[in-house]
């Protein structure tokens, strides 16, 4: 369950960026995650609210964009969409391919908002 460690790392970066931009709250965190990153989206979604509690991300929506597994053949040049454990050329069948997409593990973007006004907090 290394998704907890991954989530903690994401939140540390988000808090730094939010602070650098004088944002009080983060309303959305968008990630790019490939099936070959070795990170389970559902486990990350489960970890996020637990670790975000009490931080500027408490009310943030977590959006995970899954990238497709795509390879380029080094022999015939064909581009193929494929599965994580079948990185073969769809045209000629060789394993001599280069992964173009599918192992992404990125913090893509954030939506920031000012801190809520004081009077709302006092209600």
């Amino acid at each position: 369950m290394h998704e907890l460690a991954v989530c903690r790392s994401i939140l540390t970066q988000v808090e730094d960026i939010a602070a650098a931009n004088q944002a009080g709250r983060v309303t959305r965190v968008t990630l790019r995650l490939g099936p070959l990153a070795g990170v389970e989206p559902d486990l990350l979604r489960a970890a996020f609210p637990l670790l975000a509690a009490g931080t500027c991300c408490e009310a943030a929506t977590l959006r995970i964009k899954t990238t497709p597994v795509q390879v380029e053949c080094q022999l015939c040049g064909a581009l193929s969409a494929t599965r994580p454990n079948r990185l073969l050329c769809g045209a000629c069948g060789t394993w001599r391919v280069v992964l173009l997409s599918g192992d992404e593990m990125q913090l893509e973007s954030l939506e920031l908002a000012p801190a809520p006004a004081k009077e709302f907090l006092n209600v």
Binding site: H2, L87, S109, L110, L112
Partner: protein, 253 residues
């Protein structure tokens, strides 16, 4: 007016990594950073230490019980008097493996990870403080026995060796593509048990491995009876040779 882009609305946007976006309610900023940025930076720092000292660092990964410690014991014995070996041991609870390494004649540093299912670059860095890297030729990092989590964390190593014992079944690369894709060497271990297991086919394991588009070499050996160990030692010495120039360069520090 914004001084950076000339836009009339200086409040509604920010500049990060050169990309600017505007939204109705707040600011959207493009980040595009690695999720494990902190670990990646620490791993680069570790790698700089290793390269400056000219030490070969090999991260050993496998499922629990695939024979990581047995391989290291046999390697230490085979290279006694030729190379100085040290081992960083990752283990959830015990120091059993570190004791075995010391008994075989090498220095061992134990990292007890508690509940952590993998080693990270910070843990490895902390362990480095108890080692004199300039006196070491090869540093092995024996990762936590786990075919999932350790694959995602760079430690600063030069090579990943992934072990697959014949008792586990030859379809493991198909089941754990992320781990086996990270291998710089696939090591089929416990080859002395192949006959008793009956249905493990090395060629089939290799076929599953190649389906991950990984061109890394595969070796098959038994640390117990020594079959195939010469090729493993040969691979290790060849990797070691490639680390030497940096060591020569710093030999008079």
């Amino acid at each position: 007016m914004c001084n950076v882009c000339g836009c009339q609305n200086s409040e509604g946007h920010v500049h990060v990594a050169g990309v600017i976006l505007h939204t109705e309610t707040g600011k959207q900023i493009e980040v595009m950073q690695a999720m494990l940025r902190g670990n990646d930076r620490q791993a680069d720092h570790n790698r700089a230490h290793f390269e400056a000292a000219g030490v070969l660092v090999v991260n050993i990964m496998s499922s629990p019980g695939a024979g990581k410690t047995s391989l290291l014991e046999a390697t230490i014995r085979a290279l006694r008097g030729r190379l100085t070996i040290a081992v960083i041991e990752g283990d959830l609870e015990t120091e059993n493996d570190a004791r075995r390494i010391r008994a075989a004649g090498a220095q061992a540093v134990q990292i007890t990870t508690g509940n952590a299912c993998h080693l990270d670059a910070t843990m490895v860095h902390a362990a480095l403080h108890t080692l004199n890297l300039r006196e070491i030729d090869v540093l092995f990092i024996e990762n936590v026995g786990n075919l999932v989590c350790p694959a995602s964390f760079d430690l600063g190593q030069r090579c990943n060796v992934v072990l697959l014992s014949v008792t586990e079944g030859d379809d493991k690369p198909e089941k754990y593509p992320v781990m086996f894709r990270a291998a710089n060497l696939l090591a089929i271990t416990k080859s002395d048990l192949t006959e008793a297991v009956g249905d493990f086919q090395t060629l089939r394991a290799l076929r599953h491995f190649r389906k991950l588009a990984n061109p890394a070499p595969m070796l098959e050996f038994s640390a117990r009876n020594g079959d195939g160990m010469a090729a493993w030692i040969g691979w290790l010495l060849a990797e070691r040779d490639q680390c030497r120039p940096a060591r020569t360069l710093h030999a008079h520090d």
